[in-house]
Structures are given as structure tokens and as C-alpha cells.
Amino acid sequence: MAELTYREAIARGIAQEMRRDENVVFLGEDVAAAGGVFKGTVGLLEEFGPKRVRDTPISEQAILGAAMGAAMTGLRPVAEIMFSDFFAVCWDIVVNEIAKSRYMTNGQVSFPLVIRSGNGGGLRFGAQHSQSVESWAMAVPGLKVVVPSSPVDVVGLLAASIRDPDPVIFLEAKALYSTKGEVPEGDIHDELGKAKVLRRGDDATLVALGSMVPRAMKAAEQLATTGIDCTVVDVRSLVPLDTQTLLEEIGRTGRLFTVEENPRLCGWGGELVSIVGEEIFYDLDGAPVRITTPHIPLPAADALEDMAIPSVERIAERVQKAMQE
């Protein structure tokens, strides 16, 4: 059992799969010789060589087009889009081509590919390098969407994503790159579509994703000291969504709080509330509450960014307030 950072877990996960399957190839900007701008892919070029680990020009449409064309003809590409904000320059390949082509062709083609990307804020990079785009991807039929919150989940979910026969958008929480966690030795592979219950309490259920998971956990600890005992669920996979676990855990406490890094409108939390409303309305003991970044572009200054993204304090306060109402 070794302690790895979230960023190291990325190379660990990709390497594991490249060893297992020679059809796994990896491409992106500055990913090979430089090991990635977040140093998430250090060592891959050295181990697997320039045929399988490839640097590209700044041509995101070409990167994803290459991944798509390769996936439909036998390879299992992993492509990196450096910052998830850059999905906007290649969104067509993602949403109109990769996501739809299996359906449009009545199943003639498959797209076993993974698009990894650094997602979210916390590094004071400003509005064009800090967005949370998970709900962009979730809104598109034909994409699976995975967001790990710990190093071991990075490895296990990356392996599951690479082995999955369908396209997976794999969003890494940039704010977590330097966090650490235990990762067992040997082959690790997890399952897509399984949420994880990280803590059980009877009063309220906090549902969090990615960078918000550790914050929700800390908020739950604080709340416990005030007598509010929370369940915390890490969603991990937006598509497929583990509604079974989620509905059960929300129904059990009767209170739902989503903790979302995304700006509010059309975030995954809204979708979850609507599922809960439709299916277990009568199990709810109070209004479901969403804790999100306000619906604004993210500011760059540290002081402002910290105010924008849900903090441990804000989460705890909001829950407390709602539980007292």
C-alpha cells in the first residue's frame, strides 16, 4: 500500500491499462516529453515509447477526432484536454460525433475512448481555466461522465473508464491534484455507476462530487459536533448515475443537500433533485437544498475565488440553517 497523490494516480492508472492492453494509446498537448502540465502523466513516454504516448499540436479538434477515428477502428485511446474549459473548442467532436454516432448508426460502431481533463477551480486561474463542466457533459446523451475524488478512485475509475466500451468523459478535480491517499498495490479497477457512501448519519444526506467531496466530509464532521449527523455520498459517476444508492440514502434521512462546484443553473444537483422529487417525494422531510457556486464566471483573485466556491463553512452553515427551519 503506497501513498500517492491524485496527480500520480493518473499515470499509475493509465500505465496499468497500457500494460494490460496494447491497443491503449494516449495523446494530448505536452503530455509525453513533458509529462503533462499538471505532471499527471510523467513516465508514460519513457515506459511506453513515442508510438503509444504522443504529443500533439494545439489542435483539440484534431486530438479528439483522432481519438474517435482510432476508437472506431480498434484502438482504445485516452486523450487529454488540458483544461476542461477547452472542451469548448472541440465540443462538436464530443457531443455531435462521439456521443451520437453509435446510436445514429444503429450500433455499427463503438467508441471505447476516454477523454481526461483537468476540471474546476481553486488554483486562481480565472474564468477561462477553472470551469466545472460536468453538467455540460451530463446533458449530452451518449457520454458517460466520471469524476473521482481520491487517488484510489482515480486509478480504479480510470481503469474502469478505459475498459468501458463507451466514451467516458473523465474529469479530474484540479484542486485535488496535490492531495494524497493510500492506493493498494496491484491491479485496481473499479466500476462505473457506483456512488460511495463515505459516512452515515441519520439527519441529512449530503451528496457531493469531485473537489466538493472532502469539503462535504469536513462539513459533516463540523455538523456532527453541533448534533447534526450527516450521511455523505460521493456521486463519482454522473452517467451512469447510481440512483439506487442515492435514493436510498436520501430517503433514509429525508433531507437532501447537494454540494456542487458548478455554477448553479442546470447543474447535476438540479437533475438529482428532480429525480428525488419525482420518485421519493413522500419520503422527504424538508425542502431539498442545493449548495453551489453562484451563477457567475469564476473570478481569479484568491479572495474572490474562495468566496465563490462552496467552502466547508458555507456548507455547514447552509445545512445547519435548513435543519433548523
Binding site: K51, E60, G65, E97, R102, T105
Partner: protein, 339 residues
């Protein structure tokens, strides 16, 4: 009008007699098929939009004959011809246009997305430019897997002004990918003349140098010239020589899509091009070169019959049912996004 012969050296790649007959057969098939598709549209049987290649068939026919099994075709919404040219049977294609269960994709894709992977027809793409980078991907895969498969992407003149064109061409060159980019320059986008919105005279060929590629312009209405250029580019790609960009000059006889009467084109221009219709021109050339007319008539009659049969097949198809609606979003055959 451009009638330039290929700038690549005419080697011993001139098409053989058999090849020329095969091309003629394809020309006839593509022509008869699309005329029928148009008839069915007038009868209100074709659902949605459709984009015909009438007048442009020589490009698809030449490549169809020059490509090998295992090679990959990527086409646009104007993809009927390229689909048939890879050997996909007419019946399912027509049925797809009619939105029937026995369509090539069971009606789920429609005219703009014809795909038949078993024939190497890797899809028809309806967002301008997208399939150029995708063709790079299948070429990369062929290269990686150590095969000599070539990918060919067909697209229009208007497509040369979108970003994906630029990214794909550069990418293909730096990775030496076995891909052939074929610009079918029919002088128009939808309703706007390409010359009104393009900084250079030859929208593809005048950009070749920007990607370290040779400038190739060919008469897209001349099957023999097309075949020569196609073969050279395919051979080059197969031999590890990397990508080519071909600009084939041609003209569509009708409008952009079913809704378009094409009034924006000067009558003289239309007449000039109708006089250069590849079908009668090539027929006359073959006869002049000694092919027996009755051989050609036999092809024409057989094709007419096949088109009738395809029509019957298509019309007999049922409307797709609800089982198809929710099928094949995912590789497990289903669509569910939750447990």
C-alpha cells in the same frame, strides 16, 4: 472552368479496361439511384432532408473503384454516392432515406448519416469539417496496427474555411498519416458561391502548401483523370508517404438539398456544366475507345432493374418500432443512464 489534368505524374496508373467498366457501372448506379431518390422525394416518401450528388458522381465512382476492402471512407451529408461506391446495396440505403426499419441504420441516422462499417463506409457526417480529424484517427489506427489501410475523407469546397479542416490537415502531415483528403469543389456552399467567401481561388489546392502538401487539382467530372489521381494518392498513403489533398472540380446538377431550386446560379454556368455531365461524356469516351455500346446498355438495364428492386425493398419496409428508439446508445445495446 478548371479542366487541369492531375499534376501528379501520369505513371502506369491509367485505368485498365475492366476498371473503366467498373467505373461506368458505378456512375450509372449512382445516377439512377439518386434520380429515384428524387422521384420518391417528390412523392413525399423521403423523410427529412437529402443532398444529391447528381453531376458529381465521377469522384465517388473513381475512388470507389480505386479503394480496397479495408480502406475507410468518411463522407458528408452528401454521402449517397460514396456509400454506394463502397459496395453498400441500394435497398437499405433507399430504405434509410424513407425512414424504414429495413434501412441501413434502421431509420435512426437518415440520409445524412449513411454508414456501413462492413463495407468500410465509416460514416456520413453532417457537421461541416468534423470528419476530417476523425479520418485522421482511423488513419492513425491503421498506421499503429501496422496495416496498409487508407482512410479517405470527402468534403466540399465550403468546408475548407472551417477550423477543423486546418487542424486535420496539419495533424495528418506531422504524423504522416495514410489519409487522403478529397475536396469536391462544386463552386457553391449551400447557396453562396465559394469564391465570394474564400481568400484564394482554389479553396483546397491553394492551401496545400500551408500543410507541406503538393497542390493537386483534377477534373472531377473525368473518371479516368480522377482514377489516376486517386490511385496515386492511395498508393502514396499505403506506402507510408503520408497524406494528400486533392481538389476535384465538379458541379451539382440540382440544388444543395431537397428544399433548394438553386436559382442563385447563372444559367450559362449551369448549361456549361450540364454539357460536361460525366455520365454521357464517359459513355461516349468508352465507345470511342472501342467498348461495345451493348455492354454499356446491359449495365444500364441491369442497374435500372436493380433500382426498381431496391425501391420495392425500401417501400416494403415497416416503420421502425419503439424497440429501436431506445436501442444502441451504449455498447450494451441499451440507453439507460441510471440503475
Amino acid at each position: 472552368m478548371t479542366t487541369a489534368r492531375p499534376s501528379t505524374k501520369a505513371s502506369n496508373t491509367a485505368p485498365t479496361a475492366d476498371t473503366r467498366i467498373a467505373m461506368y457501372r458505378l456512375l450509372v448506379e449512382l445516377r439512377y439511384f439518386e434520380k429515384r431518390a428524387y422521384d420518391l422525394f417528390l412523392q413525399n416518401l423521403v423523410k427529412g432532408t437529402s443532398h444529391l450528388s447528381l453531376g458529381q458522381e465521377a469522384i465517388a465512382a473513381a475512388f470507389g473503384v480505386a479503394m480496397r476492402p479495408g480502406d475507410h471512407t468518411f463522407a458528408t451529408y452528401r454521402g449517397h454516392a460514396h456509400t454506394l461506391a463502397r459496395g453498400v446495396p441500394m435497398g437499405p440505403v433507399l430504405a434509410e432515406l424513407l425512414g424504414r426499419e429495413n434501412g441501413l441504420m434502421a431509420g435512426k441516422g437518415g440520409s445524412m448519416h449513411l454508414t456501413s462499417v462492413e463495407h468500410g463506409m465509416m460514416g456520413s457526417y453532417a457537421i461541416i469539417g468534423a470528419h476530417l480529424p476523425i479520418a485522421c484517427g482511423s488513419a492513425w489506427s491503421a498506421q499503429y496496427r501496422g496495416t496498409d489501410e487508407v482512410s479517405v475523407a470527402f468534403f466540399g469546397d465550403g468546408t475548407t474555411n472551417i477550423g477543423a479542416f486546418h487542424e486535420a490537415l496539419n495533424f495528418a502531415k506531422i504524423w504522416d498519416l495514410p489519409v487522403v483528403f478529397v475536396c469536391e469543389n462544386n463552386l457553391y456552399m449551400e447557396y453562396t458561391a465559394i469564391k465570394d467567401v474564400t481568400a484564394v481561388e482554389h479553396p483546397a489546392a491553394d492551401r496545400a502548401a500551408a500543410y507541406g502538401l503538393e497542390k493537386i487539382i483534377v477534373d472531377g467530372n473525368d473518371p479516368d483523370a480522377m482514377h489516376e489521381v486517386a490511385t496515386a494518392a492511395l498508393d502514396r498513403a499505403r506506402a507510408g508517404g503520408g497524406p494528400s489533398l486533392i481538389e476535384a472540380t465538379t458541379y451539382r446538377h440540382g440544388g444543395h438539398s431537397r428544399a433548394d431550386p438553386a436559382k442563385y446560379r447563372p444559367e450559362a454556368e449551369v448549361q456549361e456544366w450540364l454539357a460536361r455531365d460525366p455520365l454521357p461524356m464517359y459513355r461516349a469516351r468508352l465507345i470511342a475507345d472501342g467498348v461495345a455500346e451493348k455492354e454499356l446498355v446491359a449495365i444500364e438495364e441491369a442497374t435500372a432493374k436493380a433500382v426498381d428492386e431496391a425501391t420495392e425493398f425500401a417501400k416494403a419496409g415497416a416503420a421502425p418500432g419503439e424497440d429501436l428508439l431506445l436501442k444502441d446508445v451504449w455498447s450494451d445495446g441499451g440507453w439507460t443512464w441510471r440503475n
